[in-house]
């Protein structure tokens, strides 16, 4: 059995542990869940649900925040 699964975060291929939650992912990346918005396969996942949603192979995850703009 493969020890990791392949997913895509912000357009970059990544290998992560199977069935890891979105909250685990953020922690692993050193990101504050209050400071980012998470989109999982094009669906926004609200903060309280981040610990419940588990990633599966091939998932696409977008992590966004506010930057300077006009």
């Amino acid at each position: 059995m493969k020890a990791t699964i392949d997913i895509v975060i912000n357009g970059e291929p990544r290998s992560v542990a199977p069935a890891v939650t979105l909250l685990d992912l953020l922690t692993e990346l050193g990101l504050d869940p209050r400071a980012v918005v998470v989109e999982h396969n094009r669906h926004i996942v609200r903060r309280p649900s981040l610990g419940e949603v588990r990633v599966a192979p091939g998932d696409a995850i977008e992590l966004v925040h506010f930057v300077g703009g006009g």
Partner: protein
């Protein structure tokens, strides 16, 4: 307070049920550094400050979050959908912005052309309708076309934002007639967004009677952004005050200011 009588007499500036003191809104892009940006925003007196939605830098080599500098309790953060070329993308960005949890306002941009950054009005209307239905307060960045402005108002937009000239061009108000017509025909606030280059442009724009101005590059790309931010604040106040005062009629001939009577023989 040195606020003029004219400004005291002014009607409140209300968008989507929120009232603001400053009629100048500013962007947060293209500043040389964050300290200059914050001092410029302070000098501008703006309460509404725009931000963009972008991917987090996963390498964390640079800290790009604007919220480390802008206090959301002190400023009204207006997220934009800059960089979106389709209605679908703009709706996606707007939803992500709302999820960040500050408010349900969005500065809706659907761009139609990379060179001019002019809006795709068809995509804009499509996105506006979807977002209004989802409860967003939509401030729609559009061109200075009356019919599009009327349709955006019909679609339920909280404000319509015609451009003075293309984004980042600094060409000033190219079509005062169209902007005046839009202001006269719409009930929702009209805020001119994009194209202002210097203080006189801001002043002339406000003299058309529009409710406010949103600008970014004119301040951020000035030689001294903080000094220009102050100039813009004064220009927006001056233009508003002049509009409320009502200008003298234009004449094609001179009319002496001193008496013609009492001249020596």
């Amino acid at each position: 307070m040195t606020t003029s009588v004219d400004l005291v007499r002014d009607t409140p500036f209300t968008i989507g049920g929120r009232t603001f003191q400053s009629r100048l809104m500013v962007g947060t892009g293209k500043y040389p550094d964050n300290d200059t940006m914050m001092r410029a925003i302070d000098a501008s007196g703006a309460e509404i400050v725009t931000v963009a939605v972008r991917r987090v830098d996963l390498d964390r080599s640079k800290d790009t979050s604007v919220l480390h500098h802008l206090d959301p309790k002190r400023f009204f953060l207006l997220a934009n959908t800059a960089g979106c070329y389709t209605a679908t993308d703009a709706v996606r960005y707007a939803r992500l912005a709302r999820e960040a949890g500050f408010n349900d306002f969005v500065k809706l941009e659907v761009i139609g052309d990379e060179e001019t950054l002019l809006p795709d009005v068809q995509g804009l209307l499509e996105a506006a309708k979807i977002l209004v239905k989802e409860g967003f307060k939509v401030l729609a960045y559009t061109n200075e076309d009356l019919i599009t402005a009327l349709r955006l108002e019909d679609a339920g937009c909280a404000a319509v934002m015609p451009l003075a000239s293309p984004i980042g061009s600094g060409l000033g108000l190219l079509n005062p007639f169209s902007v005046r017509t839009i202001k006269r025909r719409l009930t929702v606030p009209v805020v001119v967004d994009a194209g202002v280059g210097t203080a006189s442009d801001a002043c002339v724009t406000m003299e058309q009677g529009v409710d406010g101005i949103l600008m970014n590059t004119a301040i951020a790309a000035a030689q001294d952004p903080v000094a220009m931010a102050r100039a813009m604040r004064l220009a927006v106040e001056a233009g508003r005050a002049a509009f409320l005062a009502g200008r003298m009629p234009r004449r094609e001939v001179a009319f002496p200011s001193s008496p013609t009577q009492g001249m020596l023989d």
